[in-house]
Symmetry: C2
Subunit: 336 residues, 2 copies
């Protein structure tokens, strides 16, 4: 517990340095780097106590990923393990603790992408898979497909030994109270919130993973950006790994994750410049509630950009630099 508290205290100082201050990995030497998010949105419910709890869990999740990368493990294993941790934690909108649909059920989406060969796997609209991110990885590794949906995805998961749970497993008292408030029109439907992780490993491979319960109060089998490769999730060893969180429809329409990669590849922008361009010059100018992206590029540069009041996030690099936090203005925002 002392260890946790130290992390939280360190984090308060570090997070305000944001991504803009990250040191560049020495050229020619592959260093690992990792970034994760736990959703973006308004900060009005973020009491100091809740913020401290978020920092504890974001830090724990970061440690899970760091341990794999420090040990020389694969970026793909790191991003899957981090997202599994966040899926299992009831504070985030993914796995246990996912938001509910208008009918009070849970429909989950997840995607993973391997920057080595652009292989990808995703599932959408699943109701009974405990860790959607691991089934998304199974889709990538055990089928010729990218995207499986609904009961078909569940059948595949069962055939491949994924842990199946009743839909109530995903419910928490907080989420069921939230859906009651939405039904009584005391709270608006929200398109926000998801979890994700991007990483560069010491072999120079990038990977991205994202998982979500989607939009609270959603209807009609709505699917957001998370399982859409190029929108909420993208990784390419030649450029960058990206995971998004926010108003998914905007992410789909702007092809956000691939847009960041294309700006780097075809216009020569840095990851920070590309992330700023997409969030501030595209997303921020659209009607909607915005959101954020986390990016780690092929050189280990980290960019965390959001146009909402807060984004739960954490990052670390082989150099020892790291940060964790929820509120705070990124340097990128000041610099634009």
């Amino acid at each position: 517990m002392k260890k946790r508290l130290i992390y939280v205290c360190m984090a308060i100082g570090l997070v305000v340095t944001g991504a803009g201050s990250c040191a560049q990995a020495p050229k020619g030497q592959q260093e690992w780097a990792i970034a994760l998010h736990g959703g973006a949105g308004r900060a009005n419910n973020l009491t100091p106590e809740r913020e401290a709890m978020y920092k504890v869990h974001l830090t724990e999740a970061l440690e899970v990923g760091k341990a794999i990368l420090i040990d020389g493990g694969d970026a793909l294993d790191a991003v899957e393990a981090v997202v599994r941790y966040l899926e299992d934690c009831p504070m985030f909108n993914a796995g246990h603790g996912a938001v509910a649909t208008a009918e009070g059920r849970h429909e989950l989406d997840a995607a993973v992408m391997d920057g080595r060969d652009l292989k990808a796997g995703a599932i959408a609209g699943v109701t009974d898979i405990k860790n959607p991110i691991s089934t998304a990885r199974m889709v990538m590794e055990r089928t010729p497909h990218v995207l499986l949906i609904g009961t078909g995805a569940s059948s595949f998961a069962k055939e491949n030994g994924a842990e199946i749970v009743p839909n109530e497993y995903f419910s928490t008292p907080a989420r069921m109270e939230q859906i009651q408030r939405i039904r009584e029109q005391r709270e608006k439907e929200s398109p926000m919130g998801t979890v994700g992780c991007v990483a560069l490993d010491s072999k120079g491979n990038l990977a991205a993973a994202t998982s979500t319960g989607g939009m609270s109060g959603k209807m009609w089998g709505r699917v957001g950006d998370v399982p859409i490769i190029g929108a909420g999730t993208y990784a390419n060893n030649h450029t960058v790994a990206i995971s998004g969180t926010g108003h998914g429809e905007l992410w789909i329409r702007q092809v956000v994750a691939h847009q960041v990669s294309a700006l780097m590849e075809y216009r020569g922008l840095s990851v920070q410049e590309a992330a700023n361009e997409v969030i501030w010059n595209k997303i921020d100018k659209m009607e909607g509630s915005g959101g954020g992206i986390i990016c780690v590029d092929k050189r280990g540069e980290v960019a965390l950009v959001f146009n909402t009041e807060m984004m739960h996030r954490a990052w670390a690099k082989a150099s020892g630099e790291w940060g964790v936090g929820s509120e705070g203005v990124e340097l990128s925002e000041k610099e634009r």
Copy 2:
């Protein structure tokens, strides 16, 4: 009938000129242009009689779209009307005549995008909507969402007055014989085939629409590139409208449609150069069965590029140039 035959005969001469020979619309003057496809793949089943039949229907579909554009109508109306025609025609893998899943059922996907404001609508895994493209447009225009899936999408369609049909409506004797051959392992599962249309209207607006029955013999609720904005469908008034057909997983992993747009916007390539780059330098180098894309850019330039033996296709421009065909080498292929 005579009119049809004349079209077919004209087409044989015109199609080999391909997209490379298209005249450029005069600068400052918005001219309409349209292109459509009806799937890409191997030419081994394409007897002269079947090819002639395809040309008749591709030409009819082209006339449907041309009539709207000549009349000053919207690109969005043109692409929807063309895709509805192709959905209703049993020769193409969309709507009536869609391929069957491993279970002998039909699961359909469709998407539409409006280049004016990057609005988009899509549905995936629907089993009872007669014209999926029109429901995709309803999603775009009547909801804040982009993608609805499965029974949720059907509920939305019913609430909005879409025509609902029993799943058997989509079956044709040819498709049911095909799924029998796949079950008996006399034919391989095929990821190919779909329909789509892209258009520029006289007001300078671009739109794209794509619809499919997906992959024959598909399992587990597999969804391909068609309903994935940026993969199989994309339109942006600043660049280009694109619709794809082929091995959908490759289209998703390469974010094909957005990639074409990004190469034009960020690297300054022409639509023909961008389409060639994506099909020949990205898709053609991946394992899989390839496919093709149709593109109309903001100046009315048309590019039709495929790395398969054939792509059913047709195009026309305000200048009076047009073409229709299935086999034949595009100029783009010779030029690369």
